[in-house]
């Protein structure tokens, strides 16, 4: 990360208002293509204006949205989401959704970007947080399962009708028997509640936390497919 300048280097911002943003930076810096990236923490409008792509980390979605609003970042973020690659993990996935259920009393602010409905704290309290192996598609070495860490994780409830040019792709699924009992879908393995990693165009979401594991295949996927792939 010395001072060499290369026009082809892409600036990936990590929204650093609250949550586990440092973990994402560590994961990105371990990628084999990290020399083609510059990773910055985004706390202000000026930071955001430098970015070619953005990661919204895990944390509390209500806290992140409030801090974004106070900092005047909410509208710039909504504009950013419309045109540039964005990946949301957990709280970030909630912010990237079109509609949230089980949200804060009085409603909470979202950025949109993915045509889905998501439920906050879909599994319940921290006592229901869990680790599980996931089936993945499109990652490097897809035969190897990915250890998903789900912490008070959201559940994807519904995929909205999406336009032809931006279909929603399923990147990772959870076994049906691991779904919370209130979402009984054991007969419909293709229901969205099993979907824990989705891609729509340049947007990517995971309801779990790849940044908490040593396995950086999701970071590799986002950088390869959504960030570097479009230059």
């Amino acid at each position: 990360m010395t001072g060499f300048t290369d026009d082809r280097r892409k600036v990936i911002g990590i929204l650093a208002l609250q949550g586990a943003f440092a973990e994402h930076r560590t994961a990105l810096e371990k990628l084999s293509c990290h020399r083609r990236l510059e990773v910055i923490l985004v706390k202000t409008i000026e930071d955001l204006s430098r970015c070619d792509a953005l990661i919204i980390p895990g944390g509390e979605s209500t806290t992140i949205a409030l801090l974004a609003r106070i900092s005047g970042l909410l509208d710039p973020l909504r504009q950013f989401v419309k045109v540039k690659p964005v990946w949301g993990t957990c709280a970030g996935a909630i912010l990237l959704s079109q509609v949230v259920e089980n949200g804060k009393k009085g409603g909470q602010e979202l950025l949109g970007g993915m045509d889905i409905t998501i439920a906050r704290n879909g599994w319940g309290s921290q006592l229901e947080s869990f680790e599980a192996e996931l089936d993945v598609q499109g990652l490097n070495d897809p035969k190897r399962p990915f250890k998903g860490i789900f912490i008070r994780a959201p559940v994807v409830l519904k995929l909205h009708q999406s336009s032809e040019d931006h279909p929603i792709q399923v990147i990772a699924q959870l076994a049906s028997e691991l779904l919370p009992p209130s979402f009984d879908s054991s007969d419909h393995s293709d229901e969205p509640k099993n979907f824990v990693a989705l891609r729509q165009g340049l947007h990517f979401l995971t309801t779990f936390h790849p940044e908490l594991t040593d396995d950086n295949r999701f970071h590799d996927y986002f950088v390869r497919e959504c960030v570097l792939g479009r230059s």
């Binding site: 990360m1 010395t2 650093a16 208002l17 609250q18 949550g19 586990a20 943003f21 440092a22 973990e23 930076r25 560590t26 994961a27 810096e29 371990k30 990290h34 923490l41 706390k43 895990g58 944390g59 509390e60 209500t62 806290t63 409030l66 801090l67 106070i70 957990c90 709280a91 089980n102 949200g103 804060k104 009393k105 009085g106 906050r120 704290n121 319940g124 309290s125 921290q126 006592l127 229901e128 947080s129 869990f130 680790e131 599980a132 860490i149 789900f150 912490i151 008070r152 936390h209 940044e211 908490l212 594991t213 040593d214």
Partner: protein
């Protein structure tokens, strides 16, 4: 504080030869590491209550403010002000100090009302060593338990064995040895003890400086020195060695005890804390909602003095502070539990 601590690797593998950029201390300075394999190996096989999900929730709280609340209304004010979690309790530490008597776990019904009122995580306090209070709190579904010296200790020798619980624990510590003893008992998050209910940040600063100073010393020791140092600070060797390698505590570390202003919160962040607990400081001040929001902003923008000045303006009176000496009413909580 020197701003040049390098970012530790998160894996248990040897750090790669990647150049790590100089970054400031505190939140964002360092990714909290993935859990130590020794303990996660013993966790239950169904993936619930593993050390990974326990310490992982603490990682999601980083860069945030956890606020003491005594009823659902205060919990809603805290959530609207941007708290990343609330601590449900019957009396804030300043009142415990003033009223005296034995302070115990709160009424489960009150805690359940607060859980129902907000979407953010809810923590609750159990007395040191009172594992039945902890069982009760787990049964009603709190997200985190604080085994806290603010309540009257139930056991003057032993802390709770926290490995057996599915719910994660946070514990207070005054120095590195105490922090590592609590982690070895299963704590998934550490906070400074400070001196709760005083509005006086001096003890929290002392504890955080003690932890950071000992970590810096340990980080340049060889194994022979680490064995002797582990004995000196009464810490398990394997945890001390891991701490020395990471150059930070192996779990998330918050500030607590005496934080009353946005500047106090930013001070603790610049001293290397990952986030801040505010107890009596918010709802014992003149304008709780405004002060709460200001402290939330100060923790995010702790390195931006201009913004800190803006958010510190016109907050109304802060809580009345107390001098910490032998005459402190209610005594010094930090000396409870070793």
């Amino acid at each position: 504080m020197s701003p040049d601590m390098s970012t530790p690797a998160t894996s248990t593998a040897a750090p790669a030869a990647l150049p790590t950029p100089p970054v400031p201390q505190g939140v964002g300075s360092a990714a909290a590491p993935t859990p130590l394999p020794l303990r996660s190996a013993k966790d239950s096989s169904n993936g619930i209550g593993t050390f990974g999900v326990k310490s992982g929730l603490a990682q999601m709280l980083k860069g945030g403010v956890i606020m003491d609340v005594i009823n659902p209304e205060q919990a809603r004010i805290a959530e609207e002000a941007g708290a990343c979690a609330v601590m449900a309790l019957e009396r804030v530490p300043a009142d415990i100090r003033r009223e005296g008597g034995v302070a115990r776990m709160s009424d489960p019904d009150m805690i359940k009302q607060i859980v129902a009122a907000v979407t953010i995580p809810v923590m609750a306090k159990a007395r040191i060593g009172h594992f039945v209070e902890a069982q009760i709190l787990q049964a009603i579904g709190v997200d985190y338990i604080d085994e806290s010296e603010v309540l009257t200790p139930a056991d003057d020798q032993y802390h709770i064995n926290k490995h057996g619980f599915k719910v994660p624990f946070v514990c207070g510590a005054r120095d590195l040895g105490e922090a590592l003893r609590r982690i070895s008992e299963g704590a998934a998050m550490i906070r400074t003890k400070g001196e709760a209910g005083t509005g006086n940040v001096v003890e929290a600063v002392r504890h955080q400086r003690a932890v950071m100073s000992q970590i810096r010393r340990a980080s340049v020791m060889d194994d022979e020195e680490l064995y002797a140092f582990a004995k000196e600070i009464q810490a398990p060797f394997h945890l001390l060695k891991e701490t020395a390698r990471l150059k930070r505590l192996p779990v998330v570390n918050f500030a607590a005890g005496g934080v009353a202003t946005p500047a106090d919160a930013a001070l603790m962040m610049q001293l290397g804390c990952d986030g801040v607990f505010v107890g009596s400081g918010i709802f014992h001040s003149g304008d709780p909602a405004k002060r709460a929001r200001a402290i939330v902003q100060s923790v995010t923008h702790y390195q931006n003095p201009k913004l800190l000045a803006e958010v510190s303006e016109n907050l109304g009176p802060a809580m009345v502070g107390l001098t910490i000496d032998d005459n402190l009413k209610g005594g010094q909580f930090a000396s409870r539990g070793k």
